[in-house]
């Protein structure tokens, strides 16, 4: 499956400055793996450990937060859009 991954400004320096990149996989985890394979420095930006995303990273598959779709195991389809966003918070 080929999906489009959209990156926030804070992560673009880790992906050759691109606003969006194509990546492949059958699940969100596989897509992330493909992405990190090409842009290794994204790994620490996105992942707390092998199996879990950093707490302050939000990932949307099309219109839905992947937390409500099964997380990293969520299946993806051709043409899906994966949007990575930093959590925006403060006091």
């Amino acid at each position: 499956m080929a999906v489009i991954v959209r990156l926030p400004t804070v992560l673009r320096p880790h992906a050759g400055g691109e606003r969006q990149v194509d990546a492949a996989g059958a699940t969100v985890a596989e897509v992330m793996g493909d992405l990190i394979g090409r842009f290794p420095s994204l790994k620490d930006q996105l992942f707390e450990s092998e199996a879990s995303l950093r707490r302050f990273v939000n990932v949307y598959l099309n219109d839905d937060d992947i937390r409500y779709l099964g997380g990293l195991d969520a299946g993806v389809s051709d043409g899906d859009q994966l949007t990575i966003l930093p959590a925006v918070a403060g006091g």
Partner: protein, 141 residues
């Protein structure tokens, strides 16, 4: 420097006033010019924390703002939020949670009769105030 249109400035303040007694937040769309940015679109957001001392922008609002900005050929250039009882200066939480060093951080204090609006950069844990200029153009809204 952060330049905002009159419309954007008004929308920021209106959203912050409407959010009282809780903190209000939202994003700014515009163009980046080196260390400066021109904010021409305001994206009022929901504060999921529903708190007078914390804010957490609804990520769905972030997603929609991100898409809209891209469609307009703009970038998200910063975030604004209110302090209901303290000055318009980033709190330790604001610094600790600052999501993007390229962003401009607009603070609105509602402590006094007149809202006070200021802009900052937050990079490597350091706070630097920057000029906040209001331009006369009406922007894209």
């Amino acid at each position: 420097m952060l330049s905002v249109t009159t419309a954007v400035r008004d929308q920021i303040v209106e959203h912050c006033l409407a959010g009282r007694p809780e903190e209000a937040c939202g994003l700014l769309g515009g163009t980046i010019n080196g260390e400066s940015a021109d904010a021409t679109v305001c994206y009022p957001g929901r504060n999921l924390a529903a708190s007078a001392i914390l804010y957490e922008l609804d990520p769905k609002d972030h997603l929609l703002a991100d898409r809209d900005a891209e469609e307009r050929g703009l970038e998200l250039v910063g975030v604004f939020h209110s302090h209901t009882h303290t000055e318009a200066y980033p709190s330790p939480t604001d610094v600790g949670r600052a999501p993007d060093p390229t962003w401009h951080y607009v603070l609105v204090s509602l402590r006094d009769q007149e809202p006070v609006i200021r802009s900052f950069r937050i990079q490597d844990g350091r706070i630097t105030e920057e000029p906040l200029e209001t331009s006369a153009t009406t922007g894209d809204n």
